[in-house]
C-alpha cells in the first residue's frame, strides 16, 4: 500500500518536473536509461607476489573461492538538466556511490546506458595520492591524475596549499602525508580535488571533512564549483546539507530509485521512512 502511494507521487513529480524543465527550455546533461550495475567480488584481494606467499594463498583459498555478484543498482532511470543540483539520499549500501561512479563512466554498466554531456568527474583524488610522499608532491600528482596540466597546477599550487591551511601550523607541506593528522590529510585531499573546474560535478560526502572552520570554507568552495559546473550531484547522509545545496533529490533504496522530486517532498518522505 505504502509503496503504491509512493509510486504515484513519484510519477506525478516526474511529470511536473519534466514539464517545468521543458518550459524553461532546459538542456539535459545526464540521462540514465534503465541502468544496472553489478559488482563481481572475488573471495580475497590480490596479495603480494613473492612465491611463498602466493603458494600459501593458493592453499588457503580453497574453501572461499568463487565469485559473488552484487547487484548494486537495479534499473535506475532519470534525466538531469543543466543548472540542477541533485542530491542522492538513501541508507548505507543503497547504491548511491555506485550510481555516481557509473555516471562518471568509471564503473561499466551491466545493462542500460548513461548518456552524459562532456566528462562528468567525481570530486575526490584520494586514490591517486600516496602517503609516503610529501604534501607538495601529492598536490602535483593529484592534479595530474585529475587531468590538469603542469602549468595549471603551478598556477593553482599556492591557492591549494593556502586553502587547505596545512601550512598554518608550520611547514607541513614538505613532510610526507603519513605524518599528517587525519583531519589535515582530509583537508589537503579536499583542497586538491576542489582545485579543478568541472562540467558535471559529483561530490561524495566530501563536505564532512576537517574542523568547523574548514567545513565552512569547503561549503563555500562547493557553492563556487556549483556555479561553474553545469550540473552537480551530491551524495550525503546529512539532510541539512542536501536541503542547503540541492533543488532536486533522488532517493535510492536497495539499488532502486524509490523517489525522484523536489528536495522538500523527497526528504519529508525519506525522514518518515527512516523514522525521524
Amino acid at each position: 500500500m505504502a509503496d503504491d502511494k509512493l509510486d504515484k507521487t513519484d510519477r506525478t513529480d516526474r511529470t511536473d518536473r519534466t514539464d517545468r524543465n521543458a518550459d524553461k527550455g532546459h538542456i539535459p546533461t545526464v540521462i540514465a536509461d534503465e541502468l544496472h550495475i553489478v559488482y563481481r567480488v572475488n573471495g580475497a584481494k590480490t596479495g603480494k607476489g613473492s612465491a611463498t606467499s602466493a603458494l600459501s594463498r593458493i592453499l588457503r583459498r580453497g574453501e572461499e573461492r568463487g565469485v559473488r555478484k552484487v547487484h548494486a543498482v537495479r534499473g535506475v532511470s532519470f534525466t538531469a538538466y543543466r543548472g540542477e543540483a541533485i542530491g542522492l539520499i538513501g541508507s548505507n549500501g543503497s547504491g548511491k556511490s555506485t550510481l555516481l561512479r557509473a555516471i562518471a563512466g568509471l564503473l561499466p554498466a551491466e545493462k542500460g546506458k548513461v548518456y552524459t554531456d562532456g566528462q562528468p568527474s567525481l570530486l575526490g583524488v584520494n586514490a591517486a595520492l600516496m602517503n609516503d610522499l610529501t604534501g607538495e608532491r601529492n598536490v602535483i600528482l593529484g592534479g595530474l591524475a585529475m587531468g590538469m596540466s603542469r602549468e595549471q597546477i603551478r598556477a593553482r599550487y599556492q591557492e591549494i596549499v593556502d586553502f587547505s591551511g596545512i601550512n598554518e601550523k608550520g611547514d607541513f607541506i614538505t613532510l610526507p602525508m603519513r605524518t599528517y593528522s587525519s583531519g589535515m590529510a582530509a583537508r589537503l585531499r579536499f583542497s586538491i580535488a576542489a582545485a579543478k573546474d568541472h562540467d558535471v560535478l559529483m561530490i561524495d560526502e566530501a563536505l564532512a571533512t576537517g574542523d568547523r572552520k574548514f567545513q565552512k570554507r569547503s561549503e563555500a568552495r562547493i557553492r563556487e564549483l556549483r556555479k561553474e559546473a553545469g550540473t552537480v550531484f551530491l551524495v550525503s547522509h546529512n539532510n541539512k546539507s542536501i536541503r542547503d545545496t540541492c533543488d532536486r533529490v533522488l532517493w535510492l533504496e536497495r539499488g532502486e530509485l524509490r523517489m525522484d522530486g523536489p528536495t522538500d517532498e523527497v526528504i519529508k518522505e525519506y525522514e518518515k521512512f527512516t523514522g525521524k
Binding site: 506525478t12 511529470t15 519534466t18 514539464d19 517545468r20 524543465n21 521543458a22 518550459d23 539535459p28 546533461t29 545526464v30 540521462i31 540514465a32 536509461d33 559488482y39 563481481r40 567480488v41 572475488n42 584481494k45 590480490t46 596479495g47 607476489g49 613473492s50 612465491a51 602466493a54 603458494l55 532511470s77 534525466t79 561512479r101 557509473a102 562518471a104 563512466g105 568509471l106 564503473l107 561499466p108 554498466a109 548513461v114 548518456y115 552524459t116 554531456d117 562528468p120 568527474s121 567525481l122 575526490g124 583524488v125 584520494n126 586514490a127 591517486a128 600516496m130 609516503d132 610522499l133 608532491r137 602535483i140 600528482l141 595530474l144 591524475a145 585529475m146 587531468g147 596540466s149 610526507p176
Partner: protein, 298 residues
C-alpha cells in the same frame, strides 16, 4: 498533468541523448583518439612512476640508497650460489662470467618485475580506476616506466661490476641504449597484456612468480645456453636464445662485456630483438585498449 506539452515528450532516452549530443559515459574511444588521450596524460604517467619509485623506500633509514643497494645484494646472492657454490660458469673465465651473471640477473629482473607490476596494474589499483578518469593504459605503462628507472639504478652497479672485472667503457657501450629501448617496449607490451588478464583474473598475481622463475631458468640467466647445449644441434640453442628474455640479455652482455663477442649471439639477434619489441608492444597495446571500458568492474 495539464502542463503544456514539451517538444522532448515521447522521446526515448536514446533519442533525447542524440538530440542534445550526449555521449555514452565510459564508452571506449577509437584507437587513435586513445593514443592522443594517452599522450595528453604523459606527465601523469611519468609523475606516477617516479612517485611509486620514491615511495618504495621512503620509510627505510637509508632511503633512496636502497635503489642501488637492492640490486647489488641481489647480484651478490646469485654470485654466491651460482658462481661459488654451483660453479655454473662451465669454463667461462671469471672476468667474463661475473659481469655475464650480473647482467643476466638485472636484465631479467627488469622483464620479471614489469610483468608482475603489470598483473596488478589494474586489479591492485581499483580505487584509482574507480575514482578518476584517465586512459587505463597509463597504469601499466607507468609501472613499466618505474621498472625502467629501477633498472637505470641497477646499471650503476652493473657498470661498477663490469669495470671491476676488466671491461672498460668503450664505444660498444652505446649499444646499451637501443637494447634498453627495445626491451622497454617489449616489457610495456607484456605489462599491458598482463594488466588486462590480471584485471579479469587477479589470481595470476599468485601464479606468475612460478611462471617467471621457470622462464628465468630457461633463458640462460646464470649459464650460457650454447655452451650448455653444445652436444645438441645448434638450432635448439638458437631457438632458446631467440626467446625475448634471452635475446635482450645477450645483446646487453655483448654491448658491455669484453670477451663476449658475436659468436655468443644467435643469428639475426638485432632483428629478432626489434621484432619482439614491436610485435609485443603493438599487440599488447591493442589488446589492452579492446577492454578499456570494462576495467574497474572488479
Amino acid at each position: 498533468m495539464t502542463a503544456p506539452p514539451s517538444p522532448d515528450d515521447g522521446l526515448s532516452p536514446a533519442e533525447l541523448a542524440a538530440k542534445y549530443g550526449l555521449s555514452v559515459s565510459g564508452a571506449r574511444p577509437g584507437l587513435f583518439e586513445y593514443v592522443r588521450q594517452l599522450w595528453g596524460r604523459r606527465h601523469f604517467i611519468l609523475a606516477f612512476s617516479q612517485a611509486k619509485l620514491t615511495a618504495q623506500y621512503s620509510q627505510a633509514k637509508l632511503g633512496q640508497l636502497w635503489q642501488v643497494a637492492t640490486p647489488l645484494l641481489n647480484a651478490l646472492v646469485y654470485f654466491l650460489i651460482f658462481g661459488l657454490i654451483l660453479k655454473a660458469d662451465r669454463g667461462m673465465e671469471r672476468e667474463v662470467y661475473i659481469p655475464f651473471l650480473v647482467t643476466g640477473v638485472f636484465v631479467f629482473t627488469f622483464t620479471q618485475s614489469s610483468v608482475m607490476a603489470g598483473v596488478r596494474a589494474i586489479s591492485g589499483n581499483l580505487g584509482l580506476v574507480r575514482a578518476l578518469h584517465f586512459p587505463r593504459a597509463s597504469l601499466p605503462i607507468s609501472f613499466s616506466l618505474q621498472q625502467l628507472q629501477q633498472l637505470l639504478f641497477s646499471m650503476i652497479v652493473l657498470f661498477v661490476v663490469a669495470v671491476g672485472f676488466g671491461s672498460y667503457p668503450k664505444l660498444s657501450w652505446l649499444l646499451i641504449l637501443p637494447v634498453l629501448a627495445l626491451q622497454f617496449l617489449f616489457n610495456t607490451g607484456l605489462a599491458l597484456i598482463m594488466a588486462r588478464l590480471g584485471s579479469k583474473t587477479p589470481d595470476l598475481a599468485q601464479l606468475m612468480p612460478f611462471v617467471m622463475r621457470t622462464w628465468m631458468y630457461a633463458s640462460g640467466v646464470m649459464f650460457s645456453i650454447p655452451v650448455m647445449l653444445k652436444e645438441h644441434p645448434a638450432w635448439i640453442a638458437d631457438i632458446l636464445q631467440w626467446n625475448p628474455a634471452a635475446i635482450y640479455m645477450d645483446l646487453m652482455r655483448f654491448a658491455l662485456i669484453d670477451g663476449y663477442g658475436w659468436e655468443n649471439l644467435p643469428p639475426k639477434a638485432w632483428l629478432v630483438a626489434a621484432g619482439w619489441a614491436v610485435l609485443v608492444a603493438a599487440g599488447g597495446f591493442v589488446y589492452f585498449w579492446k577492454a578499456e571500458e570494462r576495467y574497474g568492474r572488479g
